[in-house]
């Protein structure tokens, strides 16, 4: 299996989602002064969306800081984004922004802390994705 890195603010929605996945994951810290994870192997990023009504500020500054490291970015394989459909077309926009900036696919979108269906799909999907990644790599 490849790695998993996520950001969750103190609302805890993404943290609850990741815990429900039951996979080992590194958390991007909330405090700008805390040490930042720097993965050096392929990983998937899970992040919430913070856009205003015009889509500005969709990606949390701490996630931007994390991705600003070129070595980290080189190992990013895909992004899973969360949000709230109440934001209409801007739902889970952080995933689209990161996908475009880093040229990786958006794997999945979910709302708030996700549903059991979301958990099942992401668990199976990540498993399948890493298997194909590592089988083609050999």
């Amino acid at each position: 299996m490849g790695g998993l890195v996520y950001f969750s603010s103190r609302s805890g929605n993404t943290d609850r989602f990741v815990r429900a996945l039951g996979l080992t994951a590194d958390r991007i810290p909330i405090a700008p002064t805390a040490p930042m994870p720097a993965p050096r192997a392929p990983f998937v990023l899970i992040t919430p969306t913070y856009a205003d009504g015009q889509g500005r500020g969709a990606v949390h500054p701490q996630v931007i800081r994390f991705l600003n490291d070129p070595d980290t970015r080189a190992h990013l394989r895909g992004v899973i984004a969360s949000g709230n459909r109440n934001f209409g077309a801007l739902f889970a926009l952080a995933g689209d922004v990161i996908a475009r900036k880093c040229a990786v696919p958006v794997f999945y979108r979910f709302e708030l802390a996700g549903t059991p269906t979301d958990i099942a799909r992401v668990t199976e999907g990540l498993d399948r994705f890493w298997k194909t990644q590592f089988s083609t790599a050999i």
Binding site: S9, R10, S11, G12, N13, R16, Y50, D52, G53, Q54, G55, R56, G57, A58, V59, P61, I64, L67, N68, P70, R73, G78, N84, R85, N86, F87, G88, A89, L90, F91, A92, L93, G95, D96, V97, A99, R100, K101, A103, P105, V106, F107, Y108, R109, E111, L112, A113, T115, P116, T117, R121, V122, E124, G125, L126, R128, F129
Partner: protein, 325 residues
């Protein structure tokens, strides 16, 4: 004789350069940048569409909007001010004052819709209906009882999140339904602005609720959780009857109920709780989902091959200066 009763304490001046909770600033910025007024939406473009609705459909729509007006009025005049008294930080009070005002804007918006599309007599009839409708009065009563000044601050927040993230949706459903059929599309645009605001309100109040829960013992937390689930059960019972009462005449009740389950789960998630309704009771009509978030395909799932794999660049604002790769 000198008055010996304690006068109201002088509050400390609010200093936004000394934050105790960064979420206050984040939400303040979000809410103020999302500010809007109903005049921004060209509601008069819906006049022709309105005339194509049947009399029953028109009456239903006006009634649904008076029901929403009542909830916004409660949140504007009682709910948000009641939460202010429990605020932990001075910035939280400021955010709540924004929430209170936006609820007034929402309530005012429905009257803009009415004055554009309906006759005074129809609207007066609907406001009378809202005062007499048993379910509307019951759900208001349940929420207002928790807004009592003496109530537990966390009970107030639970009631507030249920109003913001659950009770509105028996009403929001209808304009989304019309919009999915290319009816009243400008009205739907206005409702989407309200829906966006309510998401932030529910999220923020739920966040403050979770901070309050952290200060309690395990047993106390369990009590609050039991209270929350009991309240959502009671509200759900009322909402089910409200739905039947209003929507049976157009055959949409069962479709609406899926949407209610879905939103009840989201309200509970805002409080940090697990879902109540299983996924197979939350099969929201895809047309309603699409009306809610156009362009956000319902089941984007790269893993299983549905949805677009690479996202094609949409015209979205990003701050390039934050992204010096």
């Amino acid at each position: 004789m000198k008055d010996l009763t304690h006068p109201r304490a002088v509050p400390r001046a609010v200093n936004w350069n000394r934050m105790q909770d960064d979420k206050d600033l984040e939400i303040w910025n979000r809410l103020t940048s999302n500010f809007w007024l109903p005049e921004k939406v060209p509601l008069s473009n819906d006049i022709q569409s309105w005339s194509h609705l049947t009399e029953d459909e028109q009456r239903l729509t006006i009634r649904v909007f008076t029901g929403l007006t009542l909830l916004d009025t409660i949140q504007n005049t009682v709910g948000a001010p009641a939460l202010m008294a429990d605020a932990i930080t001075p910035h939280e009070e400021a955010v709540l004052s924004n929430i209170a005002f936006m609820e007034a804007v929402h309530a005012r918006s429905y009257s803009s819709i009415f004055s554009t599309l309906c006759s005074t007599a129809e609207v007066d009839e609907a406001f009378r209906w809202s005062e007499e409708n048993a379910q509307l009065q019951q759900k208001s009563r349940l929420i207002l009882d928790e807004y009592d000044a003496a109530a537990n601050p966390l009970h107030k927040k639970v009631a507030s999140v249920f109003l913001e993230s659950f009770l509105f949706y028996s009403g929001f459903y209808l304009p989304m339904h019309w919009s999915s059929r290319a009816r009243l599309t400008n009205t739907a645009d206005l409702i989407r602005l309200i829906i966006r605001d309510e998401a932030v309100h529910g999220y923020y109040i739920g966040y403050k609720f979770q901070r309050g829960m952290e200060r309690l013992t395990g047993a106390e937390r369990q009590q609050i959780k039991d209270f929350a689930f009991a309240l959502i059960f009671d509200l759900y019972e009322i909402e089910s009857r409200y739905a039947e009462n209003l929507y049976d005449c157009v055959g949409l009740t069962e479709d609406l109920k899926q949407f209610l389950h879905y939103n009840a789960n989201k309200a509970l998630q805002n409080l940090g709780f697990e879902s109540l309704f299983p996924d197979d009771l939350c099969r929201v009509n895809p047309a309603i989902m699409a009306a809610l978030s156009p362009n956000a395909d319902e089941n984007h799932d790269f893993f299983s091959g549905s949805g677009s794999s690479y996202v094609i660049g949409k015209a979205v604002a990003t701050e390039d200066e934050d992204w010096d790769f």
